[in-house]
C-alpha cells in the first residue's frame, strides 16, 4: 500500500506551517478553513513551495529531506496536481492538454494509447478532445484537468479544492468521477477541501489543519464524529459517517433497507443490489434526541443509543446549541441540540437516548457507481 509521509515546517510572512502526518488512505482529505495552510501543504508536496525544514516521502521515494539536502524539483516528482482553477493550456487542444505530460515522460514510464482511452472513458471527455479549453464549461475543464494529471502517470494525485469554483450542479457532476478515480484509478489522492460534505463523501483518511498545524488525523468516520475539532463542526454540518450495506428492498413502499453498524435505516429506494455497500453521512443537525421511545412521528428512522460525551466547545455565535456524541450499538452518531434541551432532558454521559434521524446523505462510495448523491428528508423515512 502506498503511503504518504509529511513532516514539514515553513514560515512565510506571519504564517507558520508546522505539519506532520502519515496516511495510507486511498483518498486523504486535507481539511480546514481557508488560511489553515492546506494549499501551502499540497504545494510543498508538489514541489511548488520549498519548506524550510522537513521531510516528504511517498511511495518509497523521498521528495524532500532538508537534513539530507534532498529537494526533488517539481518536474521530477511525478506528483499530479489538479488546481482549483484548472489551469489548462489555452494554446493547446483538449487532446494536447491531456497528452501534455507524455511529451516529457521517460520512455519506460510513458503511457500508451490504451491509457488515453481508459482516461477518456473514465472521465467522459471523448466528445471534447478536439476542442479548445476556452470552449469548455467549468465542470468540463476540471474533468480535463484531472485527466491531464492522471495521464502523466503520477505516483500521487493532489487535488486542491477542485470543486471550489463550480456551482452546485457542476459539483454534483464532478463528484462521481472523483469517486470513480478513488476506487478505480489506483493512484492515491490527496484532496484539499473546506466542505464537510465533500470530505464525508470522498475521504478514507482525514487530516484536519488548524492555523498551520495538524489538529487531528485518522479514518474519516473517527474524525468526523469528534466534538473537539471545531473546524469540523460548521454549524452541525459535521456528523457521523457510517458504512452501510443494502440488506433488502421493500418494493411495496419503494424503500431500501440499509444495514449500518448503528442499526437499520430505511431510505427511498436506491438503485443498488442487495449486498452492495454505500456510505451514509448523518449530519449532527439532522439528528433529534428523545429520552423515551418516540411515538407518532413521521420521521421514522429511530436508533437507540447511549450518550458518550456532551460537547463543551460551542462556537460563540451558536452558543445556544451544543454537540452530543452518541454510541449506537458501537457506532458513533452526533447530534446538535440546544443547551436548554441538554439541561431539560438531563443529557449526561451514560444516559440512554433515542436518536431521531431527519435526513441521511449517502453515496455509492465503494460501489464505484455513478449514481449521484442523494439526501432523504424527514417524512420519507419509515419506522424500523
Amino acid at each position: 500500500m502506498t503511503s504518504l509521509e509529511v513532516d514539514v515546517e515553513h514560515r512565510a510572512g506571519v504564517f507558520h506551517l508546522q505539519a506532520s502526518f502519515r496516511s495510507q488512505g486511498r483518498l486523504t482529505a486535507l481539511f480546514g478553513r481557508s488560511g489553515s495552510g492546506k494549499t501551502t501543504l499540497v504545494n510543498a508536496i508538489a514541489g511548488l513551495v520549498r519548506p524550510q525544514r522537513g521531510r516528504i516521502a511517498t511511495d518509497g521515494a523521498v521528495l524532500l529531506d532538508t537534513r539530507a539536502g534532498v529537494f526533488v524539483p517539481r518536474h521530477r516528482r511525478r506528483i499530479g496536481y489538479v488546481f482549483q482553477e484548472g489551469r489548462l493550456f489555452p494554446h493547446l487542444s483538449v487532446r494536447q492538454n491531456l497528452l501534455f505530460g507524455r511529451w516529457f515522460a521517460v520512455r519506460h514510464e510513458r503511457g500508451d494509447a490504451a491509457d488515453l482511452h481508459a482516461v477518456v472513458a473514465l472521465l467522459d471527455v471523448g466528445p471534447l478532445l478536439e476542442r479548445r479549453p476556452g470552449e469548455l464549461s467549468g465542470g468540463e475543464k476540471q474533468r480535463v484537468a484531472i485527466g491531464r494529471a492522471l495521464l502523466a502517470r503520477p505516483r500521487l494525485l493532489l487535488m486542491d479544492e477542485p470543486l471550489a469554483s463550480l456551482d452546485e450542479a457542476r459539483k454534483a457532476e464532478i463528484l462521481p468521477y472523483i469517486e470513480r478515480l478513488r476506487d478505480e484509478a489506483g493512484v492515491p489522492i490527496v484532496y484539499v477541501s473546506h466542505a464537510v460534505s465533500e470530505v464525508a463523501r470522498l475521504a478514507t483518511t482525514v487530516v484536519v489543519l488548524e492555523e498551520g498545524r495538524v489538529a487531528a488525523v485518522g479514518a474519516t468516520a473517527d474524525i468526523l464524529g469528534r466534538l473537539d475539532v471545531p473546524a469540523l463542526d460548521q454549524g452541525g454540518e459535521g456528523g457521523a459517517v457510517l458504512e452501510a450495506r443494502v440488506q433488502a428492498h421493500d418494493d411495496a413502499y419503494g424503500l431500501t433497507i440499509l444495514a449500518t453498524p448503528a442499526g437499520l435505516l430505511q431510505v427511498p429506494r436506491l438503485s443498488l443490489a442487495p449486498g452492495d455497500t454505500t456510505r451514509v453521512h448523518i449530519r449532527a443537525r439532522d439528528v433529534l434526541l428523545s429520552v423515551g421511545p418516540p411515538h407518532g412521528l413521521s420521521a421514522l428512522n429511530v436508533l437507540a443509543g447511549r450518550v458518550l460525551e456532551v460537547g463543551v466547545t460551542a462556537l460563540p455565535h451558536e452558543a445556544a446549541s451544543i454537540a452530543v456524541r452518541l454510541d449506537c450499538g458501537g457506532a458513533p452518531l452526533n447530534a446538535r441540540v440546544t443547551r436548554k434541551s441538554v439541561e431539560l432532558l438531563g443529557l449526561v454521559p451514560g444516559r440512554t437516548v433515542f436518536a431521531v434521524i431527519k435526513s441521511v446523505s449517502f453515496d455509492r462510495g465503494a460501489g464505484g457507481g455513478l449514481e449521484s448523491v442523494g439526501r432523504c428528508e424527514d417524512g420519507a423515512f419509515v419506522a424500523r
Binding site: A46, G47, L48, P73, R74, H75, R76, R77, R78, I79, G80, Y81, F83, E85, R87, F89, P90, H91, F100, G101, W103, F104, A105, R132, P133, G134, R148, A149, A152
Partner: protein, 230 residues
C-alpha cells in the same frame, strides 16, 4: 517597375530592407533574453539594465550614433577588438544594421516584456508538475503564449529600423551602395537641385513598405491570436 526608380534609388530601397531585416533578426534573441530578465528576474542591477535598454529611446539619435562611433569605430575599444577578428562595422552596412538594432531594441524589448508579464505563471507551474523541466516549460508554454508580443515587438523594431536616420548617418555616414538607406537617400535628394521627384518616389516606396508591414503584422497577430485565445 525597375525603370521607375533609378539604380541608386533601388539600391537604397534594397539596402534599407536588408538593414532593417538583419537588425530585427539579430536583436531578437537578445531582446527576448533581456525582456525575460526584466519581466521575471529579481537581481541586482535590474533597474540599471532597464535604464540602459531604454536609453536610445530618450537620447537624441545623433548622440546614440556618436556613442556607437566612439565605441565601435575602428579605434574604439569594442570596434578595435572586433577589427582584430576582421569584423568592421564603421562605414559599412553592418554598422547601419547595428545602429538600427540599438535604436529599435527598446521597442522590441518593451512589447515582449509586456507579453511575458501577462503570461499566467500558474500555467508554467502546472506544466512543471506534468514533468516539463524549466527550459521545456519556456519552449512549449511560455513561448507560444507570448508569440503575439514577439511579433508586435519585431514589427515595431523593423519599422523603427526602416525609419532610422540620425544614429545611422552619424555612425556610418551616407555612402551610396554601402550605408545609404531610404531615409538617407531621401535626405540627400532633397539637398540637390532637381531631386524632388526622386525624393517623392522614395517617399511613396517608404509608405508602401510601412503599410505592408503593418498589414502583415495585423494578419499574423490575428492568426496567432485565434490559436491561443483563452
Amino acid at each position: 517597375m525597375s525603370d521607375w526608380l533609378s539604380p541608386q534609388e533601388w539600391t537604397a530601397v534594397r539596402l534599407s530592407l536588408l538593414v532593417a531585416s538583419v537588425a530585427t533578426a539579430a536583436s531578437l534573441p537578445f531582446g527576448l533574453l533581456v525582456a525575460y530578465l526584466l519581466a521575471r528576474g529579481r537581481f541586482w542591477g535590474r533597474s540599471l539594465l532597464d535604464t540602459l535598454v531604454h536609453l536610445p529611446l530618450i537620447l537624441p539619435p545623433v548622440v546614440t550614433g556618436y556613442l556607437l562611433l566612439v565605441g565601435f569605430g575602428r579605434r574604439g575599444p569594442i570596434g578595435g577588438l572586433l577589427a582584430e577578428y576582421g569584423i568592421v562595422l564603421s562605414f559599412r552596412w553592418t554598422g547601419a544594421a547595428l545602429a538600427c538594432a540599438v535604436m529599435g531594441f527598446p521597442l522590441l524589448v518593451r512589447a515582449m516584456r509586456l507579453s511575458i508579464e501577462a503570461v499566467d505563471a500558474k500555467l508554467e507551474e502546472a506544466a512543471g508538475t506534468l514533468g516539463a523541466s524549466p527550459p521545456l516549460v519556456f519552449l512549449v508554454v511560455t513561448l507560444p503564449l507570448i508569440l503575439p508580443g514577439i511579433i508586435a515587438g519585431m514589427i515595431l523594431c523593423f519599422a523603427k529600423a526602416m525609419g532610422e536616420f540620425g544614429a545611422t548617418i552619424t555612425f556610418v555616414a551616407n555612402i551610396p551602395g554601402e550605408t545609404q538607406t531610404l531615409s538617407s537617400a531621401i535626405y540627400t535628394l532633397t539637398q540637390v537641385p532637381g531631386g524632388e521627384a526622386g525624393a517623392m518616389r522614395l517617399t511613396l516606396v517608404s509608405i508602401a513598405i510601412s503599410v505592408a508591414a503593418l498589414l502583415g503584422s495585423e494578419w499574423m497577430a490575428r492568426l496567432v491570436g485565434r490559436r491561443i485565445a483563452p
